[in-house]
Amino acid sequence: MFTIGSVGFTAPWLLLGLIALPILWLLLRAVPPAPIRRMFPGVALLLGLADDETQTDRTPWWLLLLRTIAIAAAIIGFAGPVLNPKTETVGTGPLLVLVEGGWAEAQDWNRRIDRIEALLDEAGQAGRETALVALTDLPPEDGFVFQSADAIATQLPGILPQAWLPDGETVLSWLDAVEGDFDTFWLSSGLALDWREAALDDLQSRGSVTVFESPRAVLGLKPASFADGNIELEVLRSRGGSDAVVGVAAHGLDPNGTPRQLARLDIEFDAGDTAATGLLSLPAELRNRVTRFEIEGVRSAGAVSLTDDSLRRREVAILSAREEREGLQLLSPTHYLEQALVDTADLIDGAITDIVLANPDVVILADIVTLADSETEALETWVREGGLLLRFAGTRLAGSDYGRDAEDVLMPVRLRAGGRTVGGAMSWGEPKALRPFGPDSPFFGLVVPEDVTVSSQVMAQPDPTLAERTIASLADGTPLVTRKRLDLGQVVLFHVTANADWSSLPLSGLFVQMLERLAVSTQSAALTAEDLEGTTWTLDQQLTGFGEVAEAGILPGVAGEALAEGPPGPDLPPGLYSGENRRIALNVLGREASLSPAVWPADVPVEGFAIQQETPLAGMALSLALLALLVDVLAALALSGRLTGATAALVLAALIAAPEAQAQESQAQESQADIERLLAATSEVRLAYVVTGDTTLDATSEAGLRGLSDVLFRRTSIEPVEPVAVNLEMDELSVYPFLYWPISESQPRPSPDAYERLNRYLRTGGMILFDTRDASTSGFSTATPNGRRLQQLALPLDIPPLEPIPSDHVLTRTFYLLQDFPGRFVSRDVWVEAAPEDAERAEGMPFRNLNDNVTPVVIGGNDWAAAWAVDARGAPMYPVGRGFAGERQREIAYRFGVNLIMHVLTGNYKSDQVHVPALLDRLGQ
């Protein structure tokens, strides 16, 4: 490539065209602009007038310059100028492309892939053999061969960053096993790795090493933790650069179960700092919904921190028997429970029925025996749906007959009367210690302190199920804690009191740990290997290298110790692990993590993204040429006197304002159409129907209203014109006296704005006829899909109390005397605004004096539009009933329509008592 400075040309020979420019200059100079021929009667007066100057028969110099620039720019543009052309020297011999493949690279993975592609292209052109290796996913030592660059390029999409960092030992041993000399191109993540130097030495001994490193700092998010009721979030970066603000978003399910961002927090890095902390304060309800935190805009596993139960605060309701003595706090049955739970759970109290409504995670009954039937039922339902009922024994339980003869639902075992006391003043024996927990027990692995003793307890009746229900027992084998599963929930009984009366258990740390294991409380401290010893965890949701949460497939379980200790790796992928009762999140970055930048020796060339990119300039040069030519057009016009103000304005306007003008025009048309529509609606009576989006339904509505309009026209003095479709979102409603609204299941819900207008419409005298069109299947009820949809749609509407249409409603006599209101279906259930309470029937009158207004809604399901519907020739479109009776039904449907529109337009006119005598006459009374 031919280069001048930092600009290269792909077709340099074209530049020879520049030599022709001076010739062009001379040519252009000799040819002045052509004259305009003008017809002008006044020429007689011009004859003999000479021009002042004569030298302007040549093109002016600035126009010449402009044209020369245009042509030079065109020549240069076609010669293909490129800024910063790539002129790298390509090495020889095999090339190893080394990708670390950890999460830290995920945030600019695409650019790395682009770089590798470019590298492979170059290697392919140079005929070098290459190999591509990701350190997190090392090929077997014998499977490692150098291949042609094309073959490697096809493997490129298969390489993805993993959610962990490469393991040093594995990498070093793999390097040892690889033979041969090669150059290395190392795409570094930019994070410090302790094995890096060793690996670098090894590679350098085999050939040259070039390092590619992103100048961007690697960002990471540490697991969230609690600090004084707030969530503490710590963001790390690998390099302490300038001030920066990082947004952290909390994601979770909203109450509808849709994943969404629940909260966000800006965390500021001070210049030079590599860590920054932010506090997020969330209400407990919201906090419990958070499933993960992530750094906004960073796509990597390190920028995501999954939350587990440790961030949840359980709601625990503690209930105890009535206090007998005041002020003796340490003797209170619940004191130790409250102390154990106050840090880690939200405590609530109240009556049982109220508490169950609040749906707590745990209900603790401390020595409560008698429960009302309703309370028992409520508790049982709650437990069966997944609640944990934790009971403690006490003197009341020991002294009652509760659960003696038959097993109570809310009691894990049957109890023997009285309980027992050991090691007291009046008994033999020592207080009993606890037996170590068995492997089936949820407490397995907890260390039993020796000083925990039990002096009193309630005794379980020996039962076949007793052994399996016992999860902790005393040294002599008597059950201490029993548990019964009840559908999804469980009932747990501590056979001792919740205070220190009967045992020293509540005083020990074991008590808290046991509560934790039972998932009554949650711990905020980090898990240790001892805590998790003996437990097995399965991966539920896996974190990909890009920080996405994916469902994990079926993987072998992981031992609790490994989970507590190990850094994530191929065997221990980060994600959400679930155990028996709780879930633990294993994040890429642990609580102790820190990020530090990689430091390379001075002799290793480090390349960043900031290498000068090739920038083709051809487009720019050609644009310049075009622009110059455009100016030349204007200048030439100006010179020859053809450029009037109007022409120039036209050219400029065409260039600049074309799209705008178009937009304005369409807007103007729209508003014009609106106005025409409103004029049409107000100049004549028009029936309107609501557009549902269902084409067939809308067509039926229109045909129905057309049929009704025809009937009205023929029989009454109401002479409506063609019905009109109304879009609730866009159209003005107030000009239509009547809206027909058929309900379909798929109908979209109107926007809040539309509801506001609908309510205004209803309040100011409009009427809506809701038609669920399902009286054939349901009568009219809310049990059908359409009925439910109607409920949803009408919920925000300002609708007064309703009642089934009374037999003396004005609708029954506004034009025809009617008692039925059939459509295609016959159902009496047509609802209108309820009559006021005090409506009364005057002496001798058949009708009550009902409400004064037009009912704002009429609701029914008789599918009236289908009964009214006529086609273009006026023939009915849908069959109604059978034979003559059907035709009669259609006629009555029309009459209902006539009455309805009459009611809409005349209100309670027919209710006026003046008409009563005439009506009585007609009724033959």
């Binding site: 602009p33 052509a34 004259p35 305009i36 021929r37 003008r38 009667p41 006197g641």
Partner: protein, 295 residues
């Protein structure tokens, strides 16, 4: 280089309408309606149609002159019905039908020729309605009154067109002491115009000059290298910077107008310049009052 003649179109229109009243006349009637036709009565007894007064008969009145109906109501006198004297004037029109009139600078402007014909015909309508006699000197058409003359004028306006670039006025067949109206752009040579007018004045003819100009001829909004051509293509003038000529052209135009005005003033005629962009009724009104003044 002649423009497609508006008059051939006019004729075509007239034939298409199959009526003797081409749009030009309708247009002219319309224009004439804007000028109230005032009474031409001489306020004294004479020949005419309008009733003027009854006077007692005196010796010498012929018996047939006596108004018997009026006389029957009187006791003993006989009355003669007298009419108002309505003398008809002869007005001779001369219309420039040369090529230079066939010019309109914009599409929505009428050509000078059409404008001139409209005004002239409208004037004819007015005059003939008022009972005057109107003639056209271009064709040597003697002045006559009545609708038939109007038709003749219309036909002449619609069909007549001269080949010459600028035609000098002439006054063939103009009766002595009649009125004359010259409508032209007066762009041609000044001498023949001058000669014609002085000759007319010698014959006791009084009259008015209406100069019809295009707005472009007044403004000269040109620039750049331009070749100006006359409408007939006989004259041309090339310039490299038309903008420089503007002032000198405008000077010449003003000079020409001043010359015409001086000439008319000297012989008691009147002069007015009308632009095709202006309302034609203004020009018509001016012409009408110019002719009235002479009464």
């Amino acid at each position: 280089m002649s423009q497609p003649s508006a008059f051939t179109g006019l004729r075509r229109d007239a034939e298409a309408l199959a009526g003797p009243l081409p749009p030009l006349l309708a247009d002219a009637e319309h224009l004439a309606a804007s000028v109230m036709s005032g009474a031409h009565g001489r306020r004294r007894v004479g020949q005419g149609d309008e009733f003027w007064q009854y006077r007692p008969s005196h010796a010498g009145d012929e018996a047939r002159m006596i108004d018997w109906r009026r006389s029957a109501r009187a006791d003993d006198a006989l009355f003669v019905r007298e009419r108002e004297w309505q003398a008809a004037q002869s007005v001779m029109l001369w219309l420039d039908m040369g090529q230079s009139m066939q010019f309109a600078s914009k599409k929505d402007l009428p050509t000078k020729a059409i404008e001139a014909r409209r005004i002239a015909l409208a004037l004819s309508v007015l005059l003939i309605r008022g009972g005057e006699r109107v003639g056209l000197t271009n064709l040597g058409m003697p002045p006559r009154a009545g609708q038939v003359q109007l038709m003749r004028l219309t036909t002449a306006f619609a069909t007549r067109e001269d080949e010459t670039e600028y035609t000098p006025p002439d006054l063939k067949a103009a009766p002595l002491r009649s009125r004359a109206v010259f409508v032209s752009d007066f762009m041609g040579e000044l001498a023949p115009i001058e000669r014609a007018i002085t000759k007319a004045a010698d014959r006791g003819i009084n009259g008015a000059l209406l100069q019809v100009l295009d707005p472009q001829e007044e403004a000269f909004p040109f620039d750049g290298r331009t070749i100006f051509e006359s409408v007939g293509g006989t004259l041309r003038h090339e310039t490299l910077k038309a903008g420089d000529l503007r002032d000198r052209y405008l000077d010449r135009l003003a000079e020409r107008k001043a010359a015409l005005r001086d000439l008319t003033r000297a012989i008691g005629w009147q002069f007015h310049t009308h632009h095709t962009g202006q309302s034609a009724s203004t020009a018509l009104l001016w012409l009408y009052t110019a002719l009235e003044r002479g009464h």
